[in-house]
């Protein structure tokens, strides 16, 4: 994405609703079949709603020392999911 805003290029895309992540999994199977969930707190970095047609698309700029993978666990149902990353 050479022409994308540099700030967005350094963020990680997440969704806040399971159904949006699930929809994207169906739309782009190449991205993988797992959906992982985390509860992000202020100490994990900065987030901002960056939605277009995806109402809860959120960009996450994690702090450098944050172990990102350890925050997430795979989920296979929408129950209790909030802040869902892919």
């Amino acid at each position: 994405m050479p022409k994308a805003p540099p700030c967005l290029r350094h963020g990680l895309s997440t969704f806040r609703r399971y159904e949006e992540a699930s929809h994207q999994r169906d739309l782009f199977p190449a991205l993988g079949d797992k959906i992982a969930m985390a509860e992000l707190k202020p100490e994990h970095g900065k987030t901002k709603l960056t939605q277009g047609k995806q109402p809860t698309h959120t960009t996450w700029w994690p702090y450098e020392e944050v172990q990102r993978a350890s925050l997430f666990r795979c989920v296979d149902t929408p129950l209790g999911s909030n802040n869902v990353g892919r």
Binding site: P2, H23, D26, L27, F28, P29, K53, T77
Partner: protein, 388 residues
């Protein structure tokens, strides 16, 4: 990266840029391209650390509009007679172009057959009748009828249940059961046979301009639908001792596949189930047997009833009326199905015409379920019937 099945083209495809970005996630993933070689819809089907691989299908404004309205799926939009596969470097420079077809692309890299462009376009409820012999051009009308009836009957029962259990908000006074089950058809597909319904236009229902005004109602209907589907499709680890509400059992009875015939499974999914444990449920013939056993054991014994009287107080939303001045000596509360609507409406509008109902009286149900209705031929006493 996988080998492309197609013909390499000596096309540079320079100066290609997204015209309208339709889906963005870590960069544009679905967008239109206007180019001197034609108009295309681009879809990122795969990527590695060197290139992104796009499918470019020829398109036009009508096709893109249908995609944006949710009347066709992403895959249908890509299913053109030919498409290009293009490898593009992260400098946005195309490296190779192939002419190919959708059938030549690995299934695992294509959008799922039901996936819409945006999550809000996902149908409220989609019912798919599955069977090995159900294919485009070979779908009997009875299968289509079953899909429509199974979905609408279940929605009607769920809507009745929901509306009876919660007070209607003042702004929803114009809302009737019919608005919640007689939904606009969003989409038909032949994979095996699928029909999808979307939520009605809230402005047309005089509920305001806001699209999500009925979301609490849909969520409640979805919760009850999932409760019924969970019961009908127990996992191996589940205890088999759960019971189900009779109303939910009723909602399932036309949704499950028949014990014989072309339809072997029924898949149910849609936005109605968005907060539920599973986003989709597959009802097999085992579910049909389970529903049948439970109905035999638990449904109260119905008594046939025939009565003649005048149709009054026809509630067109709830599809109920009161049969008055009957030969049974009492007023009878009646409930009908959609098929009898026109007949009842006509009799309701003709004040003097008496009707005979044939129905079932079910203990605990204050409405007689009317199965058939016939008008009574009134013969004035001074005009004998012409034997001819």
């Amino acid at each position: 990266m996988w080998d492309v099945k197609g013909t390499p083209l000596p096309v540079k495809f320079e100066n290609w840029v997204p015209d309208r970005v339709l889906y963005d996630f870590d960069g544009p993933r679905i967008f239109t391209v206007r180019h001197e070689l034609g108009d295309f819809l681009a879809y990122v089907c795969d990527e590695d650390d060197q290139i992104a691989r796009y499918l470019l299908a020829p398109t036009n404004d009508d096709t893109v509009a249908a995609l944006e309205k949710g009347t066709c799926t992403m895959r249908e939009t890509l299913a053109q007679p030919w498409l290009w596969v293009i490898d593009v470097g992260f400098d946005d420079v195309p490296r190779q172009v192939w002419r190919s077809t959708l059938e030549a692309i690995p299934e695992t890299l294509l959008p799922k057959p039901w996936a819409m462009l945006w999550p809000n376009l996902e149908p409220l409820l989609a019912v798919r009748m599955i069977g090995p012999n159900l294919a485009k051009g070979r779908i009997p009308a009875s299968v289509i009828k079953r899909a429509v009836e199974g979905a609408t009957y279940a929605l009607k029962k769920l809507a009745e249940l929901m509306l009876s259990s919660r007070p209607q908000r003042p702004e929803q006074r114009s809302l009737t059961v019919r608005h919640l089950y007689d939904l606009p058809t969003q989409h038909l597909a032949f994979n095996s046979f699928e029909i999808a319904f979307r939520a009605p236009d809230t402005a047309q229902l005089r509920l305001g301009e806001q699209d999500d005004v009925l979301e609490p109602e849909y969520d409640e209907m979805g919760r009850r639908l999932a409760e019924a589907l969970e019961w009908a499709t127990p996992l191996a680890s589940d205890q088999d001792s759960r019971t189900i509400d009779l109303d939910l059992l009723d909602a399932l009875k036309k949704l499950v596949p028949p014990q014989t015939g072309l339809v072997e499974q029924v898949e149910v999914r849609g936005r109605l189930l968005r907060h539920q444990p599973r986003p989709a449920y597959t009802l097999t013939r085992e579910a049909t047997r389970r529903v049948g056993r439970a109905r035999t054991q638990r449904e109260p014994q119905a008594t046939p009833l025939t009565a003649t009287g005048l149709i009054e107080e026809f509630d067109k939303g709830r599809l109920t009326f009161i049969l008055r001045y009957t030969d049974a000596g009492r007023d009878i509360n009646c409930a009908i199905t959609d098929e009898l609507y026109d007949e009842v409406m006509e009799l309701f509008q003709q004040d003097e015409v008496r009707a005979t109902i044939f129905g079932l009286e079910i203990p605990g149900n204050r409405f007689v379920e009317v199965i058939h209705i016939a008008r009574v031929l009134e013969t004035p006493v001074d005009q004998p019937v012409n034997p001819a």
